[in-house]
């Protein structure tokens, strides 16, 4: 059977990709439009970017979002990795079913429910709502994504490496730090990046758990977008897309050089 490059396959893949990329491309192009109207092309211009730099509210919101994302992604990576290790390496423990249920449920439960329930918890605890409550909320949501990514890596690699180390008398903690952690490092990095971008992106949960003085970028963009399309928002979005694109490409390059190094090391071992 030939690896089917049938015209139907090619057309469906191309159409699918066009559907995915066209709206974003249009958005990026129009952020450089000198005209305020979407339908009129007024020539290339950086005016909306200049306007953006003068908009303190947006800049401040971006700064808050960035800090929330870094803090919550880091906490989520630690908690999510622990959860993944607990689910794959700890065998049976009491309450395991409940635990795995709590890890997988937030992946699909509608955000309005998660947001509302967390807000009601913070109200019941009488906690001051704002920056830290958003961080806690995002940590809770994104740690589950990290856990799933790390877990799929933990089940896929060869356990005999760990077993060999332990047989040779390496203590479990050291085995974990020197062998397991290195093998799952790409998954941990991918988990951090996913957690970071989910946090940067979240509108619903942040809206529920925010308080005075903690307006994140999505909340800000949302309130502007409700009033209609604005070229400044196109500019903000383009900058965010650029950051994401650069980050993703850099990450894939790092991953590639990582595998290259590993292949070289394996080759060296054979020689």
């Amino acid at each position: 059977m030939k690896r089917g490059a049938s015209s139907f396959n090619i057309i469906s893949a191309v159409l699918g990709l066009a559907f995915l990329y066209l709206p974003i491309t249009i958005l990026v192009i129009y952020s450089f439009n000198a005209s305020r109207l979407v339908t009129i092309w007024g020539g290339w211009s950086l005016e909306w970017y200049r306007e953006l730099l003068r908009d303190d509210a947006v800049l401040q919101a971006a700064w808050i979002s960035l800090r929330v994302a870094v803090l919550s992604a880091s906490a989520a990576t630690v908690l999510g990795t622990l959860a993944a290790v607990a689910l794959t390496r700890m065998g049976r423990f009491r309450g395991r079913l409940l635990f795995s249920g709590m890890v997988y449920a937030p992946l699909v439960i509608p955000e309005v429910i998660t947001g509302l329930s967390l807000l009601l918890l913070f109200v019941a605890l009488n906690a001051d709502r704002g920056f830290w409550t958003i961080v806690i909320a995002h940590t809770t949501l994104t740690m589950c994504f990290v856990a799933v990514i790390v877990q799929s890596r933990l089940v896929s690699f060869d356990r005999s490496l760990e077993e060999a180390a332990m047989d040779l008398g390496c203590p479990p903690v050291k085995t974990f730090l020197t062998i397991t952690l290195r093998l799952i490092a790409p998954a941990i990095a991918a988990g951090w990046m996913l957690a970071f971008s989910l946090s940067l992106d979240d509108l619903v949960i942040a809206s529920f758990t925010t308080g005075p003085g903690a307006t994140t970028l999505p909340i800000r963009i949302y309130s502007e977008v409700r009033l209609g399309v604005k070229p400044e928002i196109n500019a903000v979005c383009t900058i965010m897309i650029a950051i994401v694109a650069v980050g993703t490409i850099a990450a894939s390059l790092i991953a590639k050089s990582g595998t290259a190094r590993r292949d070289r090391a394996a080759l060296g071992a054979q020689v």
């Binding site: 059977m1 690896r3 469906s12 429910i113 479990p172 940067l200 949302y222 977008v225 694109a245």
Partner: protein, 305 residues
């Protein structure tokens, strides 16, 4: 030796305990609170519901607290048609868009899985990349296109396909476009994962034995990709039922989806008990699909050892 074993035991316990406690406090306990508040009544106070549970009051306080609980919010949900219509609309939109996602996503995933090996990583990357850009941005991009003086109307009038600009925005069509656009990767990736794992010699065997291509697809490919179909369907259907941002930005104002109703009750009407009751009943509605999804995850992540 004994102390080392003990220490190891403690380390192992901590690995489980820390994330366990975190999820218990910030995921499970909040649901209990939502359930409790859905049984409370609205009050002009801070927080805007009663009764408020008071630990200091002890047993007598607990008795009084339970006596004051009421099912008023749920009674309101079942008696007012607005809520019922809202639920039905959410289920309808989620069901139709999941079917559309499956119909669009399957050929894409199939094309990806059948592409030459060296093309596959870039193709996967190409599907995932837009998913890394902000969800809000992707919805906003569609407003640019669909609004009355937007690009779609512009292109269509220039092509003389329509005479007057049509109202694409604020309609169910716009909601469907937004959902298809945002959820497509969630459908394509599980399907691709299932199709890519498939043993191609099975297809060769079927072809050698004279089975026509469509029959091979129906008898071999489709059954083998069913786990991917199930994962993609659940991964899309469950969150779409509770979707808020897409219908809010792209949809009209006639019938709201249930996520919007919850949002309005909470933020505009400040009726916390009713918002909680909506959340509880929504969760009840989605409980069976969520449990299915959990089973699927457990099998794929824990059963493959």
């Amino acid at each position: 030796m004994r102390t080392q074993a003990n220490r190891r035991n403690w380390g192992a316990r901590l690995v489980v305990l820390v994330p366990y406690l975190w999820l218990f406090v910030f995921f499970l306990v909040p649901f209990v609170i939502v359930l409790k508040i859905s049984l409370s009544q609205t009050a002009l106070a801070l927080p805007p519901y009663m009764p408020v549970f008071d630990f200091a009051a002890g047993w007598a306080g607990l008795m009084e607290f339970t006596a004051q609980l009421s099912a008023d919010s749920f009674r309101l949900l079942s008696s007012d048609a607005i809520y019922l219509l809202s639920y039905l609309k959410s289920l309808q939109i989620a069901a139709i868009s999941t079917i559309l996602l499956l119909a669009i996503g399957y050929p894409i995933a199939y094309g990806m899985a059948r592409a030459p090996r060296s093309w596959q990583p870039p193709l996967v990357m190409a599907v995932v990349l837009p998913f890394w850009t902000s969800f809000l941005i992707r919805i906003y991009a569609w407003i640019n296109i669909l609004q009355r003086d937007g690009l779609l109307n512009d292109v269509l009038t220039r092509l003389h396909a329509i005479d007057a600009p049509a109202a694409w925005l604020s309609s169910d069509t716009a909601i469907y476009i937004g959902i298809l656009y945002s959820y497509l990767p969630f459908m394509v990736l599980p399907l691709y994962a299932a199709l890519e794992k498939m043993d191609e010699t099975l297809l060769e065997a079927a072809a050698d034995l004279g089975c026509p291509r469509w029959k091979t697809f129906w008898l071999v490919t489709l059954p083998l990709s069913l786990p991917g179909v199930a994962a993609g369907t659940l991964l899309c259907f469950i969150p779409i039922v509770g979707e808020f941002v897409i219908p809010d930005l792209l949809g009209g104002s006639e019938t709201m989806m249930i996520g919007q109703t919850l949002w309005t009750e909470f933020f505009s009407n400040r009726d916390w008990p009713v918002a909680s009751a909506i959340a509880v009943s929504l969760l009840g509605l989605l409980l069976v699909p969520i449990l299915f999804y959990e089973r699927l995850q457990q099998r794929s992540l824990e059963g493959s050892r």
